[in-house]
Symmetry: C3
Amino acid sequence: MNFLYALDLVGTFVFALSGVLTASEKKFDVFGAAVIAFVTAIGGGTLRDMLIGDTPVGWMRDMNVLGVIGLAVVLGILFRRGIIRLRNTLFLFDSVGIGVFTVLGVQKALSFHLGGVVAVMMGTLSAVFVGVIRDILTNETPLIFRREIYATPCILGGSLYFLLMHLARPNLWLALGPALLITGVRLLAVKRHWALPRVH
Amino acid sequence: MNFLYALDLVGTFVFALSGVLTASEKKFDVFGAAVIAFVTAIGGGTLRDMLIGDTPVGWMRDMNVLGVIGLAVVLGILFRRGIIRLRNTLFLFDSVGIGVFTVLGVQKALSFHLGGVVAVMMGTLSAVFVGVIRDILTNETPLIFRREIYATPCILGGSLYFLLMHLARPNLWLALGPALLITGVRLLAVKRHWALPRVH
Amino acid sequence: MNFLYALDLVGTFVFALSGVLTASEKKFDVFGAAVIAFVTAIGGGTLRDMLIGDTPVGWMRDMNVLGVIGLAVVLGILFRRGIIRLRNTLFLFDSVGIGVFTVLGVQKALSFHLGGVVAVMMGTLSAVFVGVIRDILTNETPLIFRREIYATPCILGGSLYFLLMHLARPNLWLALGPALLITGVRLLAVKRHWALPRVH
């Protein structure tokens, strides 16, 4: 699972970076930017850990997470203009991060002997809650309720992962396949403006 | 306590339904509506469980809760117009739900050996936090701070339940009486526009 | 540590009072004011305890905290005008409270065997999250992201406390020195309008 762990850190880095950019658009100061970056990067997993009861929550016990976020804040502030030009690349990594976060979230919930539906919810939460908190902190109606399908790929991929866990022997692709599916569906969804029907 | 448990599920159903209606007023998509419904239905109890340390939180261990919420989302989206016409009936069930949630919240806190004041707070929180989260997610100033007395009946009924627990032998009416009191006071409060004095 | 505990209660009292004043500016009713006061006074420590896994969270097990908050609500509502005239004195106590909350937060995190960086974060969170929740509940962009340096003194003082814990033998000044440093830097920062650079 070392490869997944590496992707986890990449996802954390990219989410933190997106937090810095959001904060800079809102003209927050350096500390505010660091807080938003931090919350964006660890918010989903933190809520998941508190709900499951896995405390002290994950990032408190893994200095790599804090290191990666610190790096993202420094680079984000120093090279802001350059990074904004890389938005497309960032979006790619962001989608990879969402895939990995979902699978790792499902994995953790299952290790606490929770059911399949709850595990998929925890995986999805790990991946998408991030945006909800960031938007609440910056006082916007959370994008998740207004945008292109955002959580649907996580639900699909998380469910696939849960099924595979019961059908196949554990191996790297078992986790990587669903993660890539999530990333792929999300990229397609945004490119083609897929949206869920509104309620009215 | 099977009767209370049934009322608990009814309350969950009605709260989820009210979440769907709020979401549809805000033109959220289907997924957003499901999230709001879910959060509205389980938010208060979830925060209570996290504060007390009863994790994994309640709904993760009871598939009936998830089932009831799912049903509310489907029915809420399919029969939106019809349900809006039923608003008065819904409000009745909503008030029943608040009464039951309060009593069950007090009960749980006491089972964790917490004091009476804290138990009444946890009961009230279980019942009313729901509205606070829903309003934060949809970016409004929480109604609880602006409207007719909303939490006061819960505090009264919760305290009564706590007292009865020390005075009488356990029986169904011990829980049902205070729950009905909360429902009754709330219905009266809204009908007669009772309000607490403002601070100024 | 009885002196620190007394200061802790003073900080709680002042934070609760500031919550009442905020609520009265927003024309909340009496109950809303009590809720805001309560959340402002215990919010930071509560989140800290949930993240660390020290549940039931602190104030549930210490009736003094609830008593002090209740007192602040009653006095805040009765003597509102007089208290507003005392704003400068209040700000002094508020700064003392932030210093004490930071040190106590670091202390608790260390007692759970967490690392230094995490402990300083938990101390800072205990002290400043308060304002974030209050602003979210009243639907404002959290001041912490816009104002004079707010968390920086906590980070400095918290780190100093952590270092002293490793260098000196335990004594009252070990905790009191960093707490006073935080209070002092904060008072100076506000008086001279120190601000962190913005990101742009």
